[in-house]
Subunit: 256 residues, 2 copies
């Protein structure tokens, strides 16, 4: 059963963090326990879930390179059944430190192994890069989910991402699979959105989630309140789409 997922796309601003935060919230709302791992030095997932600066002293950096056990980095969020390993400020320096570190690709996998079993699902939010942090995530998980903005530049990077996944699968993590592509910021009025979506479905068929996340301003307002949009405004189109995405996620992965 696929239980640990990385949200990966080297293209920036495609909705990785927004999807990690809101899919995690939807799964928790449907009675599953979920853990978010914030692996992006920007710490947006930590902010989006209302984790104060003071609560981030022990986070992903300390777990990867600071000798702190994963269990000691997990903090609860305001959402029942949803916890997070926050990103502390030091994570910005992790990439360079990892290059010459021992077992540099396996550190996250080893750190998480002590706690991953305690949650129904683990979602790792990655930075916009195919760097050592993202590589650590790809080694640690069962599968990856690719949030894809329905725009041209985002589409261009997809083949590069697929090749990287194949390389990681061969060299480090044989169970790794591209489990799903999630179309984000979809705008029905925009012919480019439609064209990109058709192109992606032609190549990836049923790996593309049926549920598309529409562009919806309430989604982008929610983080300034430290809340997932499901809590900030559960009636809006964006929240409804993420609830639907949670249901589709469970249909795809919970039953197998």
């Amino acid at each position: 059963k696929l239980r640990t997922f990385a949200l990966v796309n080297q293209k920036g601003g495609v909705g990785k963090t927004t999807t990690a935060v809101n899919l995690g919230t939807a799964l928790a709302a449907m009675g599953r326990t979920a853990l978010i791992v914030d692996l992006d030095p920007q710490g947006n997932a930590s902010t989006g879930l209302g984790v104060e600066r003071g609560q981030r002293a022990r986070g992903t950096y300390e777990m990867l390179l600071g000798g702190v056990s994963a269990g000691d980095t997990v903090v609860p969020t305001a959402i029942p059944r949803l916890s997070i390993v926050p990103a502390s400020v030091d994570l910005a320096g992790a990439e360079i430190e990892l290059v010459n570190a021992d077992r540099r690709e396996h550190r996250l996998n080893e750190a998480l192994s002590s706690i991953a079993g305690k949650y129904d699902y683990v979602l790792i939010d990655c930075p916009p890069s195919l760097n050592l942090l993202t590589l650590n995530a790809l080694v640690a998980v069962d599968a990856l989910l690719v949030p894809l903005q329905t725009e041209f530049y985002a589409l261009e990077g997809l083949s590069n991402l697929v090749q990287t996944v194949e390389r990681v699968k061969r060299s480090f993590n044989p169970r790794l699979e591209l489990a799903g592509i999630i179309l984000t910021m979809f705008d029905r009025r925009n012919s480019l959105s439609e064209a990109v979506s058709q192109d992606v479905r032609a190549h990836f068929a049923d790996r593309v989630f049926e549920t598309m996340i529409p562009r919806n301003v309430r989604v982008s307002e929610a983080p300034s309140h430290g809340l997932p949009v499901l809590i900030y405004d559960h009636r809006c189109l964006g929240a409804q789409a993420y609830i639907q995405l949670g249901a589709e996620f469970l249909r795809r992965f919970d039953g197998v």
Copy 2:
């Protein structure tokens, strides 16, 4: 006189590439010679200016680590007076190779010094990260321009960026200054856009460009044709805004 600029923001998807491509085009249209340096492994600026895969064999990677002189990496674009150093596929591996390289922060500065004088302006498009590639850009330039999407997560990263610039200024490049913030994907109907814009102007005063780039679908369609929006549809709101940005850029930096 400020002549070399880096487009920097570790937040992804804020309009770094779109601004490099279209500001460069606007400056060329106004009679200046300009060079774009594509320092992002995604190679979006190269795509946005129609550089074919076959023309990217010698690019920023080869200039940084492959011993090729900068002059041998420059290719013309379809726009008169606008040239580019494209991003080849190997750039994805540069970050890890740079960590243990000699004078790792100065390689771009040294490589560009042989050609920078040939252009009125040099614009370096950076990846969404404060990594060694971006550090190389910050060491090599006179100033940085920060494209800023008027959204909450983008605002959150600004203080971190400012601190990084201060550190680089102290340790590597005393002339470095944050010369301008450019508000992108601005949507008048969206109160968040308005709030972010007021917040940024309160902190950064006249370093924030008067010209704001509106969200405009033609801007995001242009790259799929390998054209800057100024050429793809010069009458649209996005193109007009970038022409205005070019004029404001020259008012700010050309006369001094």
